[in-house]
């Protein structure tokens, strides 16, 4: 039985639901952002209304995502909710949206994380309107990348994220925000330029003059050219991932961005890099990617180990968390590069798990930093006495980040390791060493922040408020749910991964 035969063919007909659902997920946030522009912002009540509106918009998107995911489950690997409209026909571009299991899972993550991020944004007192407008535009950008099946569209949505992200960091961030924002913009534009270059090369060299991913998949390119495109797009995505040595923007942005934006940055924006590698490099340029896989594996392992080692000396709590996320993304890269079904399944699950746990950690870190009035770990200590809820959540979040059984990351790591091991018998144990170090640094952080005798100035801090607790418990329950029942997500992901791999290289 060949691989293709093993993939169950779709038994149901195409989904009868209006195909506007996907467009809704992409454009509702943008429309809401435009709508927000007309809100007055003079009084506190006005600001509260703006926040409620933003919460409503993100909840609507989340609802759409859940409905779509529910309707999606009986599909098997093919693109669903496809929507094709003519758009720039002269250039060969079209408005082509569609999701498979992989992007559906990530869209669901996006819906949840943006919802929690908007909920967690209650502390933004000044320029509330600008803040939510930018956040919602960012959501359009993120969802658009997951949904597009057209390279031009993909690129435009990709580009759409940089400006809101830049402004969010530059205007709402910490003390050194401008520096971090410019660094983000410069690196991101450089990465995007490479992506654009790759797309244009593909566009001009392919036999058919089109930007459509599905059509271009069947195009045959000279080997050297395909390898070049694979390299270019890999570097563009890897900068976002981030991999060593292009990661300093991420650590800075992570430390300076306001907490909800940091949630989105660590939970979604870097995941787009992983998604890009899986979708474009593994999915579309499989054979070419196979040629560069040795280098990619080395990069992945170096990223895992480097960030794990670098995390130890960090005194700034949020920089430390940045390295932890980066280390996981290295593991995701390892899984994607292994290019076997188990490992890619694991990589997708790991991205989702890490998105959730990173968001939870960012949330708790922001709360802790606010209480302690410093982001220096050395200045904290013994906070468990006053912050028992926070401690409990932090321990569980740290365990989730450490890939603990019963929590989402465990199955992801297990699949990556089981899948990557046969092909890469040295790289996989080395990556496990990185996992151990990340777990060590997280456990040590618990010890330094929460345990031990309480410092004098920390003896009167408040515990988490109701809203913070609700956010935390919401994220945590998703983590536990995925850890105990990974099958609810993995079935459709698995079919898509199999379909993707069995279609072969373009």
């Amino acid at each position: 039985m060949t691989l293709l035969e093993a993939v169950p063919q779709a038994t149901t007909t195409a989904v009868a639901l209006p195909t506007l659902l996907l467009s809704g997920m992409v454009w509702v946030p943008a429309l809401a952002a435009i709508g927000l522009l007309f809100f007055p912002t003079r009084t506190d009540a006005h600001r509260e209304r703006i926040r409620s509106f933003a919460i409503g918009a993100s909840a609507l998107v989340l609802g759409l995502a859940v409905v779509m995911w529910y309707g999606f489950r009986d599909q098997s690997g093919s693109f669903a909710y496809e929507e094709t409209r003519p758009w720039l026909p002269g250039a060969g571009a079209s408005y082509h949206l569609g999701v498979d299991g992989i992007s559906m899972a990530l869209l669901l993550l996006s819906g949840f994380l943006f919802f929690f991020a908007v909920l967690a944004s209650s502390r933004v007192r000044e320029q509330t309107k600008e803040y939510f407008v930018l956040l919602l535009i960012l959501e359009t950008g993120v969802n658009g990348v997951f949904a597009s099946l057209d390279y031009l569209l993909f690129f435009l949505f990709w580009q759409l994220q940089s400006v809101p992200m830049f402004l969010l960091i530059a205007r709402f961030g910490g003390a050194r925000r401008l520096r971090a924002a410019w660094k983000f913009l410069a690196v991101d534009l450089a990465g995007s330029a490479l992506l654009l270059l790759a797309i244009l090369i593909l566009y001009f060299k392919a036999p058919t003059r089109t930007f459509d991913m599905v059509t271009l998949h069947d195009a045959t390119l000279p080997v050297a050219l395909a390898t070049l495109i694979a390299w270019l797009s890999f570097i563009a995505f890897a900068v976002r991932l981030p991999v060593f040595p292009f990661h300093t923007w991420f650590i800075d942005a992570q430390a300076e961005a306001p907490a909800p934006v940091a949630m989105i940055l660590a939970g979604l924006v870097v995941k787009l890099g992983g998604y890009g590698i899986i979708r474009v490099d593994v999915g579309e340029f499989q054979d070419a990617f196979h040629k560069i896989v040795g280098a990619v594996i080395v990069i992945a392992v170096v990223t895992v180990l480097w960030s794990a080692v670098a995390a130890f000396a960090q005194d700034n709590l949020r920089r430390l968390l940045g390295y932890v996320v980066m280390s996981h993304m290295g593991l995701v890269l390892l899984g994607a590069a292994a290019a076997v079904p188990l490992a890619i399944n694991g990589a997708v699950l790991l991205m989702i798990a890490d998105g959730l746990s990173a968001a939870l950690l960012m949330l708790l870190a922001a709360a802790t930093i606010e209480r302690a009035n410093t982001s220096s770990i050395r200045a904290m200590g013994g906070m468990a006495g006053r912050m028992s809820r926070s401690t409990m959540l932090w321990v569980l979040a740290a365990l989730a980040a450490a890939g603990f059984p019963g929590l989402a990351g465990f199955v992801g790591q297990l699949l990556v390791v089981l899948g990557a091991y046969p092909g890469h018998r040295l790289a996989t144990p080395l990556a496990l060493l990185g996992v151990l170090m990340v777990a060590g640094v997280m456990i040590w952080s618990i010890q330094r922040i929460f345990f031990g005798p309480a410092a004098e100035h920390l003896s009167r801090v408040r515990d988490l408020g109701t809203l913070e607790l609700a956010n935390g418990v919401g994220l945590l329950s998703l983590i536990v749910l995925l850890g105990v029942l990974p099958a609810i997500l993995m079935d459709s992901v698995n079919f898509s991964v199999l379909t993707m791999l069995s279609r072969g290289g373009g």
Binding site: E5, L36, V133, V163, A170, A313, V340, F410, V411, Q413
Partner: protein, 646 residues
Amino acid sequence: MILTLLAAAPKGPLDTWSPTLLALFALLLPLIALLIILAFTVDSRRLSAAISVIFTLAAVVCALLVVAIEIAHPIHLERNATFLQLLTGQTGSASEFLLQWGVLADPLAAVMLIAVTLTSLLVQVYALAFIRREDGPVRFFSVLLFATFAMTGVTLSTSYFEMLLFFGLVTLSTYLMVGYWWQREEAAAAAARAFVLSLAGDLALLAGIAYIFFRFGELNFQTLATQYTGGKVSANGLFIMSILVFLGAAAKSAQFPLHAWLPGSAQAPAPAAALLHSAGAALCGVYLLARAYALFHASPRALALLAIAGGLTAVLGVLWALFQENLKRAIAYTTMSELGLMVLALGIGAYGASIFEVFAHAWPKALLFLAAGVIIRELRTERLAEMGGLWRRMPLTGWVMLIAVAAGAGIPPFSTFWSKDAMLSKALALRSPIAIILITAVTFLGAMALVRIFRLAFTGETARRRRFEPERIRDAGGRIATAMVILAIPCTAAGIRGIRGRTDPIAFVTFPGVTVSNSHFVAAGIIAAAAVLGAGIAWVIYARPRPVVALEPVRRAMAEGLFVERAYHFGAAGLLMPASRAAGWIEQRVDATVDLVADSVAFAGQPRRWLPDVRPRQLVIGLLAGMVVLATVTMMLAGRVIGKVG
């Protein structure tokens, strides 16, 4: 006896009760209790404690029924459910990737199950009175329930995957128990160390699982048991698998040099330490080795590895125990030597004897820690040098401690005498002089170490300290006394032969291909002589401890456990931190170039002045304009090409 009869009844109700179902109950009851407590009764100490004890009691009943059924019909039963099922097609042909979890019932699991649940129950009864209000009893019972659940899960695991999953939970429960008094710097550090070392073992096990899955495409213990010898994997491959699995077990069961967390685990509250050392985290490594014994049995080198590592651990542990100044650390090191003996027994093929040792050792060790908890609470010190003369003031604690010491030391007819006798019988049958000498020496020294503790704490005069009045010491009573007295019963009776001929009471735990060696009178004589002699010598030596100046460096080195813990600390602090700082330095250099680019972009635009003044409307217009420009450029480019083509 009664239970045996019950199970043997031909048409009794027990026949319809599947042992796996009962095992599943035993597994889920602590978890359900934990969830009830967390969800509903967090605020009520009494209710939480009551729920905890009642559910654990129910789990004990289930465990007893499983034991009864397994004694009557020693069979292996499994009940599995799908955890995750994926299609894979790595080599062209489609295959299915299946992760299962479930419960099993077999003699080995039954023995462990009763040890875990019963110790947990007694420890909880003890904790009812021991954990005071300000220590957070609800948190303590939650942690105990979680530990019980995790350990029961390990006991009932059907596959390597499930074992790994529950190993992780055991790691967490150890962390929570050791770090229970988190305000203490040492406790927090010991907890972190326990977590990291345990996790290192778990990851080694994960690597082993990846290798096993890669070779066999299967993770179920029972299915794999017959495949190791099938020639699918070379001898070297089997040896590597064994090493990786052994590393996972060694980190949990404190085999040298991965034992560094065990002495620190004495930081846990006394009842938690009792569970940890008797049938909890420290035992699950040995249990994994027993469960995966087919793998080791298929590779002679792996058995040799077990024997060597176990022997080394046993000797070092007992030597270090002799030099400890801290009561709980001294007991902890004796656990290490017993764990070494169990692994050694597995290595020389004494499978039944090793499991017997697990079973026989659990009770005295739990009792020792519980008694130590009473002593420490009354004396408000953990230092042996500050104790003494407690025999008159705490007669009940003294008696149970004496029984525990005798049982742990292997003095006939107490529990571990019989298991050590079984081990030595096997060694004698093998005619292996090293094994014989090791077991005898460890018995001798172990008896010395335990009697030393008793001698220092209970005889002589109570040392006087500032703000401490020996007259106010009171003996244990109530629930604490009940738990200890109940535990003293299995300490006395757990090993006694004669239930069925001359074989062990747990002789129904067998491994195919390994013969159960009957007791050897020579072996019994040697063990009895070694234990009694060791006890007598310790009684004389430690009557009035005088520091011998010449031995001072030796004493310090031994008390520090040959500085292994410090070596780990140095490895972490001395290597990782400089490496981490170096990484940070390199990153700054990398960063500088990126900054240069960013600064030049910023300089070119000079936008910092207007940035804070942009209004959202302008922003959106700008964004849309940008998109339009980008689209136009693309279209123009595209149009040029289309023009060329057309």
